[in-house]
């Protein structure tokens, strides 16, 4: 079963194809070399044989057949000599070191390869390469070289080549199998983990070995994706939990007021005011839903149209909108805004974010209940960033709570008595992210400094002039 899966893997198929292609190439190279070597050897034998024949023919010219036969007789006495045979015109051997020869061999011309037998060694049929020369008078002179050794070598080489090719294919296939198996095991582990993740365990992660190879990088990226999904899921779950929980309170109030209005005992005036409160409560609910919707849209990145605009103008507008509120509470809102602070933003969203921050400072940024707010709204450029800062001199937010108050519906203990939904800062943080920046909460010693940190959008005409 596992083997079947192995054979189906791409890695194994590739390994097999590669080892086959390599074996074929190796075979072609070796065969080519063998053919060339054989050709060279044959040419060498022909040359030697021809030179031998020429020498013997010279002897014949000097002293006739007798001289030739003497020379042959002398030569065949040397062990390991070449092959010689002199026959009569009808093929009967006179002198030489060939015991037997296929009869047809004598009638051929040119270089002939043929089996033969040596005298005294009848059992062994050997192979030779020889040439027949017919001398004047019908005597035939046969000169050749034994090629049995060469043939043996050729057979050994052929056998070893064949077995090498076999090994090559086998090792290649096994190597491929090993590699495929290794990869397959990791892929299987990944796929097992993803199945358990799909089954609902979002906290699981794919195994990584830190090698930094393709599979490791893939697993790393998938893990990062899972982390993002888990965070989003957690966010969604928290939000739905919080909505269920936080909407219960206003809904209960709404219901109580409607019941109070219905109860027969109350006077028409009371009924009227109860109904007005019912409307006010439902308006508050709508406001919460609008804020949640805007946060959700900002977080999904599906924001409204953005344009290049001067954040300084928006900051001044918001300052102008709220300064009287601070004065009304016996305090002040100091506005210090530099000129020409261009950002890519949506005017409405930016104004809403800033007014949420100021609103938050007005509500929570006073040292004692009913104290006078001392707020500052500043806007300036710092390098490539535009910083819009709203600071107060109130109790501030403890460092450990700063990340938490940006979450939806989170309200600190000290501010529970104040009106609010716990969505104001979450909305600002969501808008900041949508605009490519972030909301930072810092210590104003004492008080809170809320910094809306946005990337600056440079003036295209100015950068063109530079």
């Amino acid at each position: 079963m596992a083997l079947g899966k192995l054979f189906r893997t791409t890695a194994f198929k590739l390994a097999l194809v590669y080892s086959l292609v390599f074996a074929a190439a190796a075979w072609i190279v070796v065969a080519n070399v063998a053919r060339n070597v054989r050709q060279v050897l044959e040419d060498q034998i022909a040359e030697t044989v021809d030179a031998d024949i020429r020498g013997l023919v010279d002897l014949y010219a000097q002293g006739g057949v007798r001289r030739v036969m003497e020379a042959v007789e002398r030569r065949v006495k040397n062990p390991g000599s070449d092959i010689y045979l002199v026959t009569t015109f009808n093929g009967d051997p006179i002198v030489g070191n060939i015991a037997a020869l296929p009869p047809a061999a004598l009638d051929q011309s040119g270089l002939v390869e043929t089996p033969y037998e040596r005298p005294g060694d009848k059992a062994a049929v050997r192979r030779a390469m020889l040439r027949i020369y017919t001398m004047p008078g019908g005597f035939r002179l046969l000169v050749g070289q034994d090629i049995e050794e060469r043939e043996k070598l050729r057979r050994v080489m052929g056998r070893s080549l064949t077995s090498s090719l076999g090994w090559l294919i086998l090792i290649g296939a096994v190597g491929g199998l090993f590699v495929a198996r290794r990869v397959l095991m990791r892929v299987d582990a990944m796929s097992d983990t993803s199945r358990s993740i799909m089954a609902g365990d979002l906290s699981r992660r794919l195994p990584t070995d830190g090698s930094g190879d393709e599979l490791d990088r893939l697993a790393g990226n998938l893990n990062a994706m899972l982390g993002r999904i888990e965070a989003l899921m957690k966010g969604v779950k928290e939000v739905s939990d919080n909505i269920a929980h936080d909407l219960r309170t206003p809904l209960t109030r709404l219901r109580n007021k409607a019941e109070a209005a219905l109860s027969g005992a109350s006077a028409p005036d009371e009924q009227r005011s109860a109904l007005q409160e019912v409307i006010a409560e439902s308006d508050e609910l709508i406001r919460i839903f609008d804020a949640l919707l805007l946060i959700a849209r900002a977080e999904s990145g599906a924001g409204p149209l953005m344009e290049r605009l001067d954040a300084a103008a928006v900051a001044r507008d918001v300052g102008e909108l709220y300064d009287v509120s601070a004065e009304e509470q016996g305090g002040r809102l100091t506005v210090a805004v530099d000129d020409r602070l261009f950002v890519r933003a949506n005017r409405e969203l930016l104004a809403q974010a800033l007014s949420n921050l100021v609103d938050n400072a007005l509500k929570h940024g006073v040292a004692v209940p009913d104290g006078a707010p001392d707020l500052a709204l500043e806007a300036r450029r710092e390098g490539r960033r535009i910083r819009l800062v709203v600071s107060d001199r109130g109790p501030g937010v403890p460092p450990e709570d700063r990340a938490r108050v940006l979450e939806r519906f989170v309200r600190l203990e000290q501010s529970r008595s104040q009106p609010g939904s716990g969505l104001g800062l979450s909305l600002v943080a969501a808008i900041a992210r949508l605009l490519g920046g972030e909301l930072k909460l810092e210590d104003n010693a004492p008080g809170l400094r809320a910094v809306l940190d946005l990337p600056a959008a440079d003036d295209p005409t100015q950068s063109a002039m530079r």
Binding site: I279, R287, L293, P304, L305, D317, L321, V324, D359
Partner: protein, 230 residues
């Protein structure tokens, strides 16, 4: 006070019935069309003061309806009602030729105030006047001077814009969101009572020490500037 002729183009029967009834109680004449094509035909043929157009309608959507009317030179003011309350949707609505935009859910008082301000018939000439007068209060739009009973009252620029908007719509309710829209040009919900604070500042300037207050708070709706004696 003569009533307005209104055309409500809304496919939700319950909402439409409620609106028709509520506008009639206010002394206006309200007709109702249930789909875009019917609404277009009536708006083109009838002499209405204001059209109230739901954005999502069967057969012909609200934005297409309004841009078709504008293409036919029907300039009846149109207020768009929409369940899409996002920033971009307002821009799209106004670009299509709508004159005002109100996201659902809305308070009837808000809708009423906006429709009354939009109405051509009741607005006739007001915008062109260079001097607005309410009782002994006089606002000169050219010299940016405000006098009450002949005595000059200094105003800051935003107070001037606030009062100018109130006086242009004298006798009509203007809501807090309308003030934020027209004086500050923002459409978000400021959550706190910022507008109320601005109004109370303005009120202390024009009404303080006077026998007849002119700037009135309309409970549950907004503000109105009118001659109290009338």
């Amino acid at each position: 006070m003569s009533g307005m002729r209104l055309l409500i183009i809304e496919d939700d029967a319950e909402a439409a019935t409620y609106l028709v009834k509520a506008f009639r109680e206010q002394g206006h004449i309200a007709d109702h069309a249930t789909d875009g094509v019917d609404g277009y035909a009536r708006a083109e043929a009838g002499d209405y003061d204001v059209l109230i157009v739901d954005r999502m309608l069967p057969k012909l959507d609200g934005l297409s309806l309004i841009s078709s009317l504008r293409a036919q030179n029907v300039e009846t003011p149109a207020l768009i009602l929409s369940a899409l309350g996002q920033v971009d949707d307002r821009v799209k609505g106004l670009r299509a030729g709508g004159d005002d935009y109100l996201p659902k859910p809305y308070a009837f008082s808000e809708l009423l105030a906006r429709v009354e301000v939009l109405s051509r018939r009741r607005n006739a000439g007001a915008a062109e006047q260079t001097v607005y007068r309410i009782a002994d209060l006089e606002l000169d739009r050219l010299s940016h001077k405000l006098t009450r009973a002949g005595k000059e009252i200094p105003l800051q620029p935003r107070e001037f814009r606030l009062l100018e908007y109130l006086m242009r719509n004298a006798g009509k309710v203007v809501t807090r969101t309308m003030l934020l829209e027209h004086v500050w040009d923002y459409h978000f919900d400021p959550q706190t009572n910022v507008i109320d604070v601005h109004i109370s500042r303005l009120r202390s300037k024009i009404d303080k020490g006077q026998d007849t207050p002119l700037l009135h708070t309309i409970r549950g709706a907004g503000y109105m500037i009118r001659d109290g004696a009338r």
